[in-house]
């Protein structure tokens, strides 16, 4: 071992074995509970995030089964209106804010640093903080639900129903504050992803060599950054209206009920793409791997992602077509809503072309991609339907829309996500999920999903509104509703099998090699699961498919320090190395800061003074977080 002139230990001085040992010492978290609470490893946090999000998926699924039980028969008395309203609100809020967005970002937390060939995400402590605050938000919502203070105003919380006069108690406040928790965590991740991708890519990975999943996460992160402030401002104004008597939404004093809808959907529509675009990246990744060739039309797909991201901000009014806005504006939003089908169509065509030209291998991840195509195209086409104002006046707020967005969100996001879990499970856990199980899971979910949700289109056209806890026997809906409820059991069985398979495989699945699928991207260039430092030597990239162009060898860079957590900063466009940079070490402060923030936010549901007194511990914990501890990472 020889140290360089400045006393640093560099990887150039070490053999492979010595290097791995030295890096493991530098990058590992301490063992035990303390290490679990203070770790800033993006893989540990990402895995934790994914697992938590899937727990929320399961809980949300249980709620949906309760709703199906209630709706199976007309005038059923299994769940009363008060509880039903809480259940459907919880289902929507939980799935959107605690499952769909976080799980996509969680996959990015785990895989983006690996795919761009760096050793940790940018701002690792912010990452840890983000997880704790997300967990706190989820617990707040669910504990409130258990103690009968669950929100009962819908996941959209329209005023005045959610406002001070009609939303009795703290139910709507819990919802609004849960928004703050989840949006803080989502915004934090978005910043981390953007900076990781812009500044921490492997040398040579210019922007046109970025894997498509990474591109999709960059666009998604920008959507988060631009869209989520709207909902934070909206939910804050709602709490202010309820707690201290502001008049943002009070028409009698110059406010406006529709202002809420504008703010909510200015966030709410991009939200759909925040969930869908990562799935596009997943599909692109899986299609490339299982057809054995790069996705056709890389540039077209990236342009489609960006175009979708921009158009996403011009559509929100199509959620308000029946609110009585001026006709001219509605026509504009019909055109823009229809137009978003063009980039979506382009993506579909590119994947079809890839499959056409490639040699498909029918493994479980690819099956989910096929299922995605079948279902998502239906969801996209019904999306075109509801973009039309007259069409929408008949189906808005009916089960047609319920069917539509489940086709888009389950077909468009959950199918790719499940495929991605099967695909990346070896990298997440070091073990492989079962292929025969996987086929059953796919079959049950695919069949169950379509049997459950397709009939809802018909119910909607037959006049069944959404968000009703029951319906009268004379309405011609009971047959289909019973059918849907029975089909939902198939769907639930599929998910149950998935959870069993995942838990079983994580414990005792077949041990995976570094690159079991023969994929092309950098996350497969390291062990499964990756060591704490990800790569012993950082890869150097000179093509879009680094592992396919040179299958036998990995081109790497050398010269990074091993005494401190060190990674490489490269230029934004061309990924030319610019500096070695330290990455912060483990810290308990993010957890403390999250606890302080949680206290302040929950307290502020009850008293405006919480903002004053509650922010003092937050400030203290943040100072503790950033105050240098004299470790090598803090100095230069």
């Amino acid at each position: 071992m020889t140290r360089s002139k400045d006393g640093e230990l560099r990887d150039t001085a070490l053999s492979d074995r010595e290097l791995k040992r030295a890096l493991a010492v530098t990058w590992s978290a301490p063992p035990g509970l303390w290490g679990a609470l203070s770790t800033v490893d993006h893989k540990v946090i990402g895995r934790r995030y994914v697992a938590t999000a899937f727990v929320f998926l399961a809980l949300g699924g249980v709620l949906s089964m309760l709703m199906r039980l209630q709706l199976a028969q007309p005038e059923a008395r299994f769940i009363g209106p008060d509880r039903y309203n809480q259940i459907f609100t919880m289902h929507g809020s939980n799935m959107m804010f605690l499952f769909a967005v976080p799980v996509m970002q969680a996959m990015a937390i785990y895989f983006v640093p690996l795919m761009v060939g760096t050793r940790n995400i940018a701002f690792p402590r912010l990452n840890a903080f983000s997880y704790w605050i997300y967990l706190a938000g989820g617990l707040l919502l669910w504990i409130a639900f258990v103690v009968d203070t669950g929100p009962d105003v819908g996941w959209f919380a329209y005023v005045p129903l959610s406002g001070p006069q009609y939303g009795a108690g703290k139910r709507a406040d819990v919802w609004a504050q849960m928004i703050t928790f989840t949006e803080v965590s989502a915004l934090a991740i978005a910043v981390e992803i953007v900076v990781t991708v812009f500044k921490q890519r492997a040398p040579g990975m210019s922007l046109d060599r970025l894997p498509l999943f990474v591109w999709s996460m960059v666009v998604t992160s920008f959507l988060v950054i631009m869209a989520m402030p709207a909902i934070m401002i909206a939910s804050t104004s709602l709490i202010l209206d309820r707690l201290v008597g502001t008049h943002f939404f009070n028409p009698a004093e110059g406010g406006d009920a529709l202002l809420w809808q504008h703010l909510f959907w200015f966030f709410g529509h991009p939200e759909v793409y925040i969930i869908f675009l990562p799935a596009v990246g997943m599909v692109s990744t899986i299609v490339a791997t299982f057809t054995g060739r790069p996705v056709f039309g890389y540039l077209a797909t990236v342009m489609a992602l960006i175009a979708t991201g921009i158009l996403a901000f011009g559509l929100w009014v199509h959620h308000m077509f029946v609110a009585g806005l001026p006709r001219l504006g509605e026509s504009f939003f019909t055109a823009s809503s229809m137009a978003i089908a063009v980039p979506a169509g382009l993506q579909i065509f590119c994947w079809l072309a890839t499959i056409w030209a490639g040699r498909p291998v029918f493994k479980t991840p690819f099956l989910f991609v096929i299922g995605f195509m079948v279902i998502f195209v239906i969801g996209g086409l019904t999306g075109v339907m509801v973009a039309s104002v007259p069409f929408d006046t008949q189906v808005h707020d009916t089960y047609f829309v319920v069917a539509h967005f489940h086709y888009v969100l389950v077909g468009g996001a959950v199918f790719p996500l499940l495929g991605a879990i099967y695909y990346w499970f070896p990298k997440l856990t070091g073990r492989t999920m079962s292929e025969p199980f996987g086929r059953w899971v796919f079959g049950l979910i695919f069949v169950g999903f379509n049997l459950t949700f397709f009939p809802m289109h018909i119910l909607g056209l037959q006049g069944m509104p959404r968000r009703i806890y029951t319906y009268q026997p004379e309405m011609p809906w009971s047959g289909l509703n019973m059918f849907i409820s029975l089909s939902a059991i198939i769907l639930a069985a599929g998910f149950l099998l998935f959870f069993i398979d995942a838990i079983r495989s994580a414990r005792s699945g077949a041990v995976a090699t570094a690159n079991p699928w023969g994929a092309s991207t950098l996350e497969w260039a390291t062990a499964s699961p990756p060591p704490p430092y990800n790569f012993a030597r950082l890869p150097v990239v000179d093509s879009r498919e680094p592992l396919w162009t040179e299958p036998a060898e990995l081109r790497v860079a050398a010269g990074l320090g091993v005494d401190r957590r060190e990674l490489l900063i490269t230029s934004v466009a061309e990924a030319v190395p610019e500096a070695r940079e330290s990455s912060v070490g483990n810290s308990i402060w993010p957890l403390l800061a999250a606890l302080a923030t949680t206290v302040a936010l929950v307290w502020s549901i009850f008293s405006p003074w919480a903002v004053v007194w509650g922010s003092i511990p937050v400030a203290v914990s943040l100072i503790g977080w950033f105050w240098p501890k004299g470790v090598p990472e803090d100095e230069s």
């Binding site: 329209y158 056409w356 490639g358 498909p360 096929i370 195209v377 339907m385 037959q462 004379e474």
Partner: protein
Amino acid sequence: MKAARVVALGLGAIACGCSGNQSALHPYGAPAIHVEHLIVGIVALCTVVWVLVMATLGAALWRRRQKKVETEISQQWLTMTVTAALALTVILIAGMTIASFYTTRAIGLPAKAALTITLKAQQWWWQVTYAGSAAMPGFQTANEIHIPVGQDVQILLESADVIHSFWVPSLAGKQDLVPGRSNSLLLRAEKPGVYRGQCAEFCGLQHSHMAVLVIAEAPADYTRWAVSQSADAIMPAGPDAAAGRTAFLAKPCAACHTVRGTAATGTSGPDLTHVGSRQTIAAGLVETTRGSLAAWIADPQTLKPGNNMPMVPLTSFELQDISAYMESLK
């Protein structure tokens, strides 16, 4: 158990309740007919698109299985195909957008109608106000809108509390009732009949039981109906109903409900002057019969939990009398 009997009575009334037309696919009003044409057209077109995409997907998945040896497809051919598909998408999208605009124009604006009815939604029922004229005083009713067939009718939409949405799918698309704003909707029935509608915007506990009936009838029948509705309530003939009237006025009922021509002038509940003539009670919950009225009055919180009608303690005689009185208010 009295409560159990009442519930059974109520459920029985529900089971044989009214049947109304409530489907976007069975349009009987001009706006709904235009929209139905659009729905059928777009759905047919989209089905074709879906079948084409699926056929391509199927072919793409199968072709490599059938031929063992395969020449590499040229990138150029793929580019051209994808471009062509994209161009086709743009054309279809543009076509559907234009079709949508034309449908909007065909439906027209509601301002030109001869008859104007004010609909005020509240948790969880509909207050319907017909303006008076020289020949006839104005009047209020609830949860039931009568319109002359074949005429444009403008419905002014207001809300007393939260956002509701007025939707009678067989006649027209929906429109929200937003507090602090005034919206309106054009209704026009081409065929006499009873068209059922339902609140379509989530509005709280009893959003599920907030139905409204639109009854389209020949103009002469409509006028007859309007004249009878504008009259004060009749004095009940039978002894039951007469006793019921007395009980009604003495009990809390009168504090919330109006029966024109009596001392009952409450305004927080529906106007009951001609409640017996309406097809349903409690916003489309049950058909109006003496039994269902009794079940409703005896225990409104079981039939429609959370609604604003309290459970008034009544003896069984009072209950019978009041239901008889209500039924007599034709």
